[in-house]
């Protein structure tokens, strides 16, 4: 086979899929290339599990199908899954000691859907423990090539966090260890690391992608989504990840699968972009503000119109989210009791002691904190004042969006108030981490689709993402907006310094 002009790892997912389909490169060669690349970058800490034998076997099978002219959309394309998705071929830990070595007897629906299209799994990607975190500093599982758990590193500056909880998913794509990866977003966990790592990511409407096989954090918020280096790549992946899973997930929307690439080429002329005043308060750093302003100006050049809107309860999204998500999580995590699977303490005196020791040993500090918060706000006497109140304000927040969408088609703003901070800078201050989620939480609470698009860099070269929030089921429009922006800019093509090219 002839070597392609561009390095395999610099190809977009779409281009790589095409090369594979045209048999210009084999799936086996592709897999070997990316496995070697992953190994060479183990210092970043992205992968938490790999198995060359498994991956190469999948690649060989893909090659056989390609030889027979298979029509899988992702035949032979290497991907990796955030370790929140359970897989039969690799252990699934959710970044937790509680699940070290856990082997699921079934695959997550999202994993199956991509495998059916011929994707080859390179391994599992590290994440904050049970998806709780904004910096990927909370994983309790050592990455491949590491002896103990260490923060995952941002390839743009190795001393900085990549964001979280899908930090490693973003890193793997930014460092070109993969053309794309899967992540999950509960309060911003796809959008924020995408922003911090200069890649493109999208969280679809709640219910679009099946949650079956996603280790549950907050049931009414969790959603799966792709991360890649372009909107087009995200659109392709998202199309295959989404779809009804009526037999297994009662919250899955009964809508036919969609081709989210169909509107990529649409013109943005006349598109009304709502800019919420609350997203540009005093807390936003100057660099972020400048990049977002510039991006909006770029959209105006493309024919869009800026419209001021208001989301007056934006800051309430912090207490509301940090009541609801921990409440649901505290219940979802009760199954980790050392009885049926996962960690069990080695020493205990009786059943009650077994439970306490198992859970105290198995869960990290952030997880414990959220379980405590969640248990408290659901407990007798506090439910009305906290949990019920939060769910009511959640509806008000959601209604605020609907009001705003009367005046605009899409809402835009920063993903986060700042760029990626230094490793360790906020690790002792959980509250600081929570407060930084302020711009991603509202769309999560309302269940709206949200994207992060690379929109610039700060003075030190750290990436800044632009957030696009659409109304329900408007993923195609968001991807269209992002795609047009990427045709006119090149932020998404830049390479981080911390990787080997």
């Amino acid at each position: 086979m002839t070597r392609p002009d561009t390095d395999l790892h610099d190809l977009s997912l779409v281009a790589l899929a095409e090369q594979l389909r045209q048999r210009k490169v084999s799936a086996l060669e592709t897999a070997q290339h990316f496995l070697a690349r992953a190994k060479a970058h183990d210092a970043l800490g992205a992968f938490v599990a790999r198995d060359d034998a498994v991956t190469l076997a999948q690649a060989r099978a893909a090659d056989e199908r390609l030889a027979k002219g298979s029509t899988g959309a992702l035949e032979g394309v290497p991907l990796a899954h955030k370790d929140i998705f359970v897989t039969r071929d690799f252990a699934s830990t959710a970044g937790s000691r509680m699940l070290l070595g856990y082997r699921s007897p079934f695959d997550a629906t999202v994993v199956t859907r991509l495998a059916v299209q011929g994707a080859v799994t390179l391994g599992k990607l590290n994440c904050d423990e049970f998806a709780m975190g904004s910096a990927n500093e909370n994983s309790a599982v050592a990455s491949v090539g590491h002896n103990r758990p260490e923060p995952v590193r941002n390839p743009w500056n190795l001393e900085h966090i990549p964001g979280g909880s899908s930090g490693a998913s973003a890193v793997a794509v930014a460092a070109r260890l993969l053309p794309a990866s899967t992540g999950t977003d509960t309060g911003g966990s796809i959008r924020q690391p995408a922003s911090f790592c200069g890649v493109t990511g999208i969280k679809p409407t709640y219910g679009r992608a099946s949650r079956y096989g996603m280790i549950a954090f907050a049931s009414s918020l969790d959603q799966a989504g792709p991360m890649a280096r372009s909107a087009e790549d995200c659109a392709v992946l998202l199309s295959h990840m989404c779809g009804p899973d009526l037999d297994r997930d009662s919250t899955s929307l009964d809508l036919p699968p969609e081709d989210f690439t169909r509107a990529l080429g649409d013109s943005l002329k006349g598109l009304r972009i709502g800019v919420p005043t609350e997203f540009f308060g005093a807390g936003v750093s100057d660099d972020v503000r400048a990049a977002v302003d510039a991006a909006l100006a770029q959209y105006e050049k493309l024919g869009a119109l800026r419209v001021p809107v208001s989301l007056p309860r934006t800051e309430l999204s912090i207490p509301v989210y940090y009541i609801i998500a921990p409440a649901e999580a505290s219940s979802n995590l009760s199954r980790f009791d050392g009885v049926k699977f996962g960690h069990r303490a080695a020493h205990y005196t009786d059943l009650a002691d077994m439970y306490r020791k198992t859970r105290s040993e198995g869960f990290g500090d952030e997880v414990k904190r959220r379980i405590m918060i969640g248990t408290y706000v659901l407990s007798h006497g506090y439910y009305d004042a906290y949990y019920l109140q939060a769910q009511k304000i959640r509806r008000m927040l959601s209604d605020d969006f609907q009001r705003a969408f009367k005046d605009c088609d899409v809402i835009a703003g920063p993903v986060a108030p700042s760029v990626a901070w230094r490793i360790g800078e906020k690790s002792e201050d959980p509250l600081a981490n929570y407060l930084a989620d302020i711009f991603t939480l509202p769309a999560s609470l309302a269940g709206l689709p949200g994207m992060s698009v690379p929109a610039g860099f700060d003075a030190a070269g750290l990436p800044i993402g632009l957030q696009l929030i659409g109304n329900y089921l408007q993923e195609s429009r968001l991807l269209n907006m992002a795609h047009q922006f990427q045709l006119a800019t090149d932020f998404h093509t830049r390479k981080p310094q911390g990787i080997r090219t």
């Binding site: 800051e315 069990r344 509806r395």
Partner: protein, 141 residues
């Protein structure tokens, strides 16, 4: 609303001067803080709360961890207090995010059996199994 700029930090029933919070370098405060919105603490947790909650959640915290948890949770609930004051009379809680635009109803599946015995695979990650049963320390009733 006057901004309480001075005064010692009082916990129970008192007001945290927001300037104290503003001085913490790693914290970026939401806009409401800048507007001079005081945080009146209606209540704060005590160590017996921590102990009760930890027990409900089957978590074991030593005294140091307990204290740390207490202080972290209290800081957290300080931020949460503003939410409690919002008037939500007549507002229905949001059951399902999509319910804002469409009524969600529980899907019902036909009553058929399609799961067969998969015990071996299902118990592969079990900590203690004997004769197909999960073993646990004796349950005393």
């Amino acid at each position: 609303m006057p901004c309480p700029a001075a005064g010692a930090l009082e916990r129970k029933g008192g007001i945290i001067p927001y300037r104290l919070l503003r001085n913490r370098p790693s914290v970026r405060l939401p806009a409401c803080f800048d507007a001079g919105f005081p945080l009146k603490i209606a209540m704060s947790l005590t160590s017996s709360d921590i102990s009760r909650i930890a027990n409900l959640a089957r978590l074991e915290l030593d005294s140091e961890a307990s204290e740390r948890m207490l202080s972290q949770l209290n800081s957290f609930f300080d931020v949460v207090q503003q939410m409690r004051a919002i008037n939500t009379t007549g507002i229905e809680p949001l059951e399902h995010p999509f319910a804002t635009i469409r009524d969600m109803a529980l899907r019902l599946r036909e009553d058929t059996v399609s799961e067969s015995n998969n015990r071996e695979a299902n118990q592969r990650s079990a900590p203690a199994v004997e004769s197909g049963l999960f073993l646990v320390p004796k349950v005393i009733e």
